[in-house]
């Protein structure tokens, strides 16, 4: 199985359905390679064997036999139908959530994933699930069509506005698995990413108690400077990427979904309702926790609340980052967003 | 009766008969595309009707049944007249044919006028395509906007077809009057009439969907 996956460049199979789907994958692709090579080699062989010897050479008529044609048709059709039978059974299995699945509600919007758990907790872009239990996602979209895709699980489902669609999976091994949006949804489509954090029983129980605290080494090894000596600003950058702040806010002064962070700190902000405020620490923190309270004029109320999502440390790191940008150079004209993103982890890396 | 110019097949055709066959087949193939063009809208209508039966019933009941039905009658009559006109031209009665075609065009205009009156009525009531207008402030059923959008879209497209059909018949009428179109090449009027009939057939289906059921 691992060899097959290595040859086909498939990510390791994190869900219970992955192994069977990959077996069908291997079967189908092997036949495909064999048939196309066979056709090519046969054509080359005929060309060499029956090479034209003189310019005005004539040939006899040769025609197919009816029996031969029938065998060909029946043979090919039964092969294809076999694939369909296996594929359809697996498809139904992937579409039908088992009874008693744990339900998580998914709300997609440009360009983030929002998860609401049965116990009332919410999180953005990180879906925490236990290993070994079927999870059913009930999904809808706020704006356009998105598609919830976890390559490591071999599952995908479009997320439609105005409707619920469902998807389910059961994770086999603890680890993090990237979530990608697979349906084109606008300018930052390729940044609409998240991850599934599959936890073992103990870790999951601890998460249930303590919430979405980043693991102690979460900031380490992701950029220049290691855990100990990473400055608060540097940490802020990492948090801004991990929490997908940069999907809407730029660091270099360009206008995007949300206001830029460059030269934001200390400036006077004109709000949608006409009030004016100074962007100090309090304002910045409030905007993270209650984004709709002080919407800046010219922007839409699209930012979700990060209350309960950002830890106190993360919040202060973000504020420190924004403060460090107060003297950033002026933006060079109006260009569209250029967001630098570092590695999202590969499918199914074990912790 | 005006004198006729001798009518010959086009350069690349062997004879007139073959050219007439080609023209009719061409028109039928074109009608097939028209069927699919409207068919796409019918498919949308059918699927939304299955999804929102209640809203669609409400929309139909609100529509003006009498005007729609009158319009159906107008089109049926026009179809009968133009079919008679084709027979007349084939039998060599240019004058009769020209009068019948004129009447057909007239009925087409009557249809457009009645349709215009209906549109005016809807706009007065505050019904606009896309669920805009004050009528939708009082009627909230999910699917109503879709009903009226499809109504305006499909009937407007049909009205455009009526207009095109009337123009085609107008051109043919002028050919008859100038003596370019007669018994020998009556297939040209036939082809134009077939188009007019198709416009009629489409309305035959629009009528029950938007006014009756």
């Amino acid at each position: 199985m691992d060899i097959l996956r290595a040859i086909l460049a498939l990510p390791s199979g994190g869900s219970t359905v992955a192994d069977r789907i990959d077996l069908l994958h291997g079967f189908v692709i092997t036949v495909t390679m064999l048939v196309s090579t066979f056709v090519f080699v046969t054509a080359a062989w005929f060309t060499a064997r029956y090479h034209r010897k003189q310019d005005d050479q004539l040939t006899e008529n040769v025609s197919a036999t009816r029996g031969g044609e029938a065998v060909l048709i029946v043979g090919i059709l039964s092969m294809f139908l076999l694939w369909w039978v296996i594929g359809f059974r697996q498809y139904v299995e992937v579409r039908d959530p088992p009874e008693g699945s744990e339900v998580v509600y998914v709300d997609a919007k440009q360009w983030m994933w929002k998860f609401a758990y049965a116990d009332g907790r919410v999180s953005n872009d990180a879906l925490t699930v236990p290993v070994g239990r079927p999870i059913k996602l009930v999904m809808t979209s706020r704006d356009v069509i998105h598609s919830f895709y976890v390559p490591g699980f071999r599952v995908k489902q479009d997320v439609l506005p105005g409707r619920y669609t469902t998807l389910w999976f059961e994770v086999k091994e603890p680890g993090t698995y990237p979530i990608w949006c697979a349906e084109y949804c606008g300018v930052s489509h390729s940044l609409m990413r998240g991850e599934v954090r599959a936890l073992g029983a103990d870790d999951y129980a601890r998460w249930k108690r303590q919430g979405d605290r980043p693991p102690p080494d979460a900031d380490c090894g992701r950029g220049p400077g290691s855990c100990g000596d990473t400055s608060l600003v540097e940490q802020g950058r990492l948090v801004a990427e991990r929490r997908q702040c940069v999907a809407c806010h730029t660091l270099d002064g360009q206008k995007h979904i949300g206001p830029t962070w460059a030269r934001l700190y200390g400036s006077e902000r004109v709000l949608a309702d006409g009030r004016r405020v100074i962007a100090d620490e309090g304002y910045l923190t409030r905007s993270m926790m209650e984004p709709t309270a002080d919407v800046v004029a010219g922007y839409r109320e699209v930012m979700p609340s990060y209350r309960g999502t950002l830890t106190a440390g993360e919040t202060s790191a973000l504020v420190e980052l924004i403060r460090s940008l107060r003297d950033a150079p002026a933006p060079s004209g109006i260009t569209l967003p250029r967001l630098e993103v570092t590695a999202a982890s590969d499918g199914g890396t074990s912790p | 009766m005006s004198s006729s110019i001798p009518i010959r097949p086009a350069e690349h055709f062997e004879n007139l008969e073959r050219q007439a066959h080609a023209a009719r087949l061409g028109m039928w193939v074109f009608l097939a595309t028209e069927v699919l063009l409207f068919g796409a809208a019918f498919a949308l209508f059918a699927t939304y009707q299955v999804q929102f039966p209640h809203a669609f019933k409400l929309g139909v009941e609100h529509n003006t049944k009498v005007l729609g039905s009158l319009n159906t009658g107008v089109l049926l009559l026009s179809s009968t007249l133009v079919a008679t006109g084709v027979h007349a031209l084939r039998a060599g009665h240019r004058k009769v044919a020209s009068w019948l075609v004129t009447a057909t065009i007239g009925l087409g205009l009557v249809f457009l006028v009645i349709k215009g009156i209906e549109y005016g009525k809807h706009f007065d009531e505050g019904i606009y395509p896309g669920g805009a207008g004050h009528w939708f402030a009082e009627h909230h059923d999910r699917g109503l906007a879709e009903f009226w959008t499809l109504y305006f879209g499909m009937t407007a497209l049909h009205a455009i077809h009526v207009t095109i059909g009337a123009c085609v018949l107008g051109a043919l009428l002028s050919s008859i009057l100038r003596g370019r179109l007669g018994q020998e090449n009556a297939h040209r009027l036939e082809v134009g009439a077939i188009y007019w009939h198709l416009v009629d057939v489409i309305w035959i289906f629009l009528w029950p969907l938007f006014y009756l059921a």
């Binding site: 090519f40 046969t42 054509a43 008529n61 694939w83 069509i145 697979a182 | 061409g26 699919l36 906007a145």
Partner: protein
């Protein structure tokens, strides 16, 4: 856009009779190129051959433009983040690449150029049934293309070539203009298809029965059926998106009860058969080229002819396999899955028939046949991966990833483009009366094949690894495969540029071809090259079958 490149096509007026094989009599009738050489006579021509040439020149220009966008996209992916353009520009570029390649090049590619040029000759007619409609269709195509290109100037369009609402309903880019352009091009497609259907039915010369039509005619006929019946559905649904975006009618707006999935149904009802609009004519070219260079009758004429019709009809029943994860019901998904399996059988029949046609033939390996070998390998691979995606659970993983991108490029580029190039080499002597340089042809065919394979094979692996399509930023672990793919695209471009150069060279300096350089039996070769205005100078002898290689063709047919 369309007028300037005409000069090279119009300039040579080669004398067919100088060819060594033909009888050395002076030319009594000028060729279709020589009858009238003013620009006006070209732009307002009703001669199907000239219209074919007009299309060919226009389509080569649009292909170059689409190819330019493709190269830019590949260069952008050299690094995981911004390389040469911004995300917004990238989104506009991949949309335009798709729109241009699909509607401005692939859909009309073979039918409108080669179909127009050779189909009337293949049925023994002087022209198509409605020559003026044919000219109108060309100008409608030009008008639609100009609209689409204008939309680039005023903000482009960033929805992807599939225009899915609700995104296309709210996108602030020039959606209405571009969609109207596509809508207008649709009319051109319909009129061309209509013309070919009626021509095939009513213009066949005496002795050319249905079962004696060259197989290219069958494939174009089947294509025309799809064009005529599928295109109006696209037109309707695009109109609704235009009013959605432009006037806010909101037919697919979920807030008003609209259902975006219905758009996808109607869109794919056209766009899946459209795949066969693109590839069926290519199959027709393969049938002609294989028979001509193997100098043998097709292994089973009827199987190839009827499978074209089979593809045309069953192709209409499979649109839902683009929507397995779109929120369609399981019942519909299963039905579309099994119906998709049927259509592949027809293609398989064709592939085996072409291969076995070579058996016991007298095969001469020329450039067109080389392209056909590329076609066979790439099309089979692309087609089989298509069947694989109809194996439904696999599609759940592959949908909207680079696997799909690779799959349809194997069909569209590996299939249609190689067949188009094969046809271009095969019919170039017929169109211009001159030969292309054979060795350069072979070299560029090898370059195109290698370049294509290196470009798109890595994309299968990218898709397996989960890389979604239409991604501007991508995770760095994919970079190696992306770089390989980009390098491949340069090789492919080099092959195509080389081809362009030697064709331009051959227009003036190519060796005179003679009426039938390949010794083909097909009807379009039974006249001078280039042909006279009315195709055949006398009633051509159609009593010898177009695939009968058991007897020599009498010399009189060329007079």
């Amino acid at each position: 856009m369309s007028t300037t490149p005409l000069a090279p096509a119009a300039s040579p007026a080669p004398e067919a009779s100088h060819a060594p094989g033909a009888s050395p009599r002076p030319v009594a009738h000028p060729s279709y190129l020589g009858v009238d050489t003013t620009l006006r006579s070209w732009l307002l021509t009703t001669d199907h051959k000239r219209i074919g040439v007009l299309y060919l020149v226009t389509l080569l220009a649009t292909m170059a433009l689409g190819g330019f966008f493709a190269l830019a996209l590949r260069i952008e992916h050299l690094t995981p983040n911004a390389t040469i353009v911004s995300a917004m520009t990238y989104n506009r570029m991949f949309t335009l690449h798709g729109v241009i390649m699909v509607w401005l090049f692939l859909i009309p590619s073979i039918p409108s150029s080669f179909g127009n040029f050779v189909l009337p000759m293949m049925v023994g007619a002087k022209d198509v049934a409605f020559p003026r409609l044919n000219l109108l269709s060309y100008w409608i195509f030009v008008a639609g293309s100009i609209l689409v290109l204008l939309s680039t100037g005023i903000g482009g369009i960033d929805t992807g070539w599939t225009f899915y609402p609700p995104y296309s309903s709210i996108s602030a880019t020039a959606v209405p203009l571009a969609l109207l352009g596509v809508f207008i091009i649709g009319f051109s497609t319909i009129l061309t298809g209509l013309n070919f259907i009626v021509t095939t039915h009513t213009m066949r010369a005496k002795g050319v029965g249905w079962m004696r039509l060259p197989l290219f005619v069958w494939s174009i006929y089947a294509t025309s059926i799809i064009q005529v019946l599928a295109t109006p559905v696209l037109g309707m649904v695009l109109l609704f998106v235009v009013v959605d975006n432009g006037l806010g009618w909101g037919l697919f707006d979920p807030a008003r009860g609209g259902d975006p999935v219905l758009y996808q149904h109607l869109f794919w009802f056209y766009s899946h058969p459209a795949v066969y609009i693109m590839v069926l004519p290519g199959m027709g070219v393969v049938s002609e080229v294989v028979a001509s260079y193997a100098r043998k009758n097709p292994f089973s004429y009827k199987a190839i002819a009827y499978s074209s019709l089979g593809i045309a009809f069953v192709g209409f029943l499979t649109w839902g396999h683009h929507m397995f994860v779109a929120g369609m019901s399981k019942f519909d998904a299963g039905a579309f899955g099994v119906l998709s399996m049927l259509v592949a059988v027809f293609s398989a029949i064709k592939v085996f028939n072409w291969t076995w046609t070579l058996k016991r033939g007298a095969v001469a390996l020329k450039t067109p046949l080389l392209y056909i070998f590329a076609f066979l390998f790439l099309f089979v691979f692309g087609g089989m991966t298509g069947v694989a995606t109809a194996s439904m659970s696999l599609d759940v993983h592959w949908h909207d990833t680079y696997f799909i991108v690779a799959h349809f490029h194997f069909i569209m580029v590996g299939g249609t483009l190689t067949a188009f190039l094969a046809g271009l080499h095969y019919w170039f002597p017929k169109m211009c009366g001159r030969m292309y340089p054979e060795r350069l042809g072979m070299l560029s065919a090898a370059l195109v094949f290698a370049g294509f394979f290196v470009t798109f094979f890595p994309q299968f692996l990218l898709g397996n690894a989960g890389m979604p399509r239409r991604y501007f930023n991508y995770p760095p672990q994919f970079q190696v495969l992306h770089i390989v793919s980009t390098v491949g695209s340069w090789v492919l471009a080099a092959g195509l540029i080389l081809t362009a150069f030697y064709f331009l060279w051959s227009l003036r300096w190519g060796a005179p071809a003679g009426p039938n350089p390949w010794g083909s039996r097909s009807f379009e070769w039974r006249t001078a090259s280039p042909p006279p205005k009315h195709n055949f100078r006398r009633e051509p002898p159609f009593e010898i079958d177009p695939y009968d290689y058991t007897q020599p063709l009498p010399d009189e047919v060329y007079q």
